[in-house]
Amino acid sequence: MTEEIVQHDIEQEEYLLNMGPQHPSTHGVLRLLISLKGETVANIEPHCGYIHRGIEKMCEKLTYQQIIHLTDRLDYLSAHINNEAVCLLVEDALQIEVPERVKYIRTIISELSRLASHELWWCAFGMDMGALTTYFYGLRDREKILDIFEETTGGRLLQSYNCPGGLMNDIHPNFQKRIKEFIPYFRKKLPEYDELLTGNVIMQERTKGIGPISKEDVISWGVTGPSGRGSGFACDVRKHHPYSAYDKVQFEEILFTEGDSLARYKVRIAEMWESLKILEQLVDNIPEGDYAVKMKPIIKLPEGEYYQRVEACRGEFGVYVISSGEKYPVRVKLRSPNFSNLSALNRMAAGFKIADLVAVGGSLDLVIPDIDR
C-alpha cells in the first residue's frame, strides 16, 4: 500500500502535503490534502468530517424550540441569523404573523452579527496574509458589538435570542443608544482597515488575480454570499427574497465582477458599509409592541415540506424540514454556505502557490463547524 503511494508520488512528481486537521490557516479542523509541484499547488482535496456532530440527525429527536439552539453551533459567527432561519420557517409553517418590533430587532441583530463576523474575517484574513496587526484592530471593534449583544441577549458569541414567534425577551433600554454610539465610531474606524491592509502594495499583489472563478462556475458550484458576489453572482437573499425587515430598508447589493480574492475582499469591506447603512435606518424606527407572540408550549408543524432561506454572513443558509405533523421533524437538512464555498476551493486555488491557497481560503472565509455540521 505504502509502496504504491510512493510509486504514485514519484510518477506524478507530486509532493503530498496534509494541511490540517491542525493547521493555523484552516481556521479549524479542516484537512486539505494538497499535491504540490514545488511551491505550486496542483490539486486540493478537502477532507471534512473532523468536527461532524450529526446535527441533522440529532434534529430528528428534538423539538423545534430545541433545534434553534443547535443551529448556533453551525456557523457560530452568524448564530443569530441561523436561529432566525428556523424561527422564520416555524412561523411560516404555522402562519403566525410576528409583530413588527420583532422583525426590526431581528434585522438589527442580524446586521450586527454580520458586522462582527466580517470584522473577524478581516482579522483572520490579515493573519493568513502574514499581517498580524489586523487581528487586534478588528477585534477591538468587534468587542463593541459583542458588548451590545451581551447587554440585550445575554450571550456574546451565541445569542440564542430567537424563539418561534418572536424573541426571548425585550431589548435592553441601552440597546438603541449603544448602537447609535457604535455607528459613528465604526464609520471612523473602518477607513483604518483600508489604510492598514487594503491599500498595501503587498496585499494588492497577493490577492489581485489570485484564485479567480467565473460567474458560471460560481453558480454551478453553488458559491453564495460575499464569495459569490465577488464573481458577479447576484445572490443576496436579503435583496431578492426579503425576510424580516429587509424590505423596509434601502441598501445596495455589492457586486464585483473580477472574481478574484481581492474582489471577495472588497465585497466584504463594502458590505460592512452597507450594514452600517441598514442599522442607521432601523435603529431609530423600532416600533412599539410585543416582543413575542404567545405560542403553544408544544409546536407541531402541519404535515408537509418547508424550506426557509436567509442570508447568513457567508452565504445562503437554508433549512429544509419534512414534518409528519408530530412535534419532532421527520427529516432536517441544513444547507450550509461554507460547504458549497469549500467545494469550489480546488477550482480557485489549483495552479497557484501555497501562499495563494492560504489567501484564497482566507477570502472564502470558511467556518469549519458549518461545513461538517
Binding site: L17, H23, S25, A131, L132, F136, R140, E205, R206
Partner: protein, 362 residues
Amino acid sequence: MAFSIYDLTAFNQSIHEALVQNLSPFWALIVEMTIIGLVFLLFYAIVGLFLVYAERKICGFIQNRVGPNRVGPYGIFQTIADFIKLLMKELIYIKNADKFLFNLAPFIVIIASFMAIAAIPFGLGLHAIDFNIGVLYVMAVSSLGVIGILLAGWSSNNKYSLIGAMRSGAQIVSYELSIGLSLVTIVILSGSMQLSTIVEQQRNCWFIFSGHIPAFIAFVIFLIASTAETNRGPFDLAEAESELTAGFHTEYSGIKFAFFFLAEYMNMFIVASMAATLFWGGWMPFHIPGLTSFNHVMDFIPPFFWYMGKTMVVIFLMMWFKWTFPRLRIDQLLKLEWKFLLPINLFNIVLMALVVLMGWHL
C-alpha cells in the same frame, strides 16, 4: 589609573599589560580570548533577552495592546521567565529524523551569528578583532547561518520544514547579493573594508549624508535586503506561520528552539549594527561640520550609547515592517530581488563610483 568611557583603548591596554607581565604570552592570549568570549556570551544573552522584550513591547504598542506587564515592573522579567521555561522544556526527538544533523543545525545557526559579532566595533576601543576585510568577514560569516536552516529543514523529516528550508535557501542566496552590493557601494565611498577605518572616516559627516543620493539608495536596499536575510516579516517565508505552521523549526522544542529564536534576534542585531556602522557612523557622534559647540555637546554622549542608539533605531524600523506588512509570496520575493533591487543596486554602484570620482560627495 583613570579610564574614560569615551575611549576604552587605555583600559584594554592596561588589562593586556597586566596579563603579559604575569603570564607567558601564550597563556596571556588564552586568558584574553576567554575573557572576550565570556563578555560576548554575556552580551549576546542580554541583548537577545532585551530584544525579545523590546519586540513584544513594540508589537504591543503597534497592535493597541500593553504587551508583557505581569512579571516584574513593566514585565521586564517576562523574557527571562520564558527563557527558563524553554530551558526546562522536554526535548522531543523525532523518530525518523537525521539525529546528528538535527542536533547540529541550531548550533550552526547560533555560531554563525556569534562569530559575526566579533568584528563589530561597539565603541572606541571596544572592538574584538579589527580585520582589514571586516565588511567581507561579517558578510561571509553571517550568511553561514543559512546552512543551519537548510540542515534543520532537511533533517527534521517534516514536509513543512523542508519547504521552509528550501524557501529560506532561495531567499538568502538572492538577498545576499543585494546586501553585498549595497555594502560595496559604501566600500567605494570609503575606500576601505576595515570597519574601524570606515567609522573613523565618518567623524565629520556620516556616510548617509556625505554619500547623499547613492548612499541613501544603498541604505534603503540594505534595510530591505537585511530584513529578508534575517528571515523576518514581511520576508518570513521560511517560517510563514499561516502557511507552514513554523517552517524550518516546526520540529524543534525547548532549548533548541530557543537557539533558533535567539539567533534570529541576534542576526537582526548584527545587520542593524552593520547598517549603523556603515551608514550612520557606528559609534561616531552626530557632527555637523562648522558647528563646533553643537559637536561638543554631541561628543558628550559616550560612543557606546551612540552605537546602541543607532542600532536600536534600525531594529525598531525592522520591527515596524514586521508588524504592519503582510507577507510576500515566494515568487514575488525573488522577483523583487532579481528584477528590482539588483538592477537598482548595480546602477547605484556606478552612480557611487561617479560621485566619488567627480568628488561630488561631501
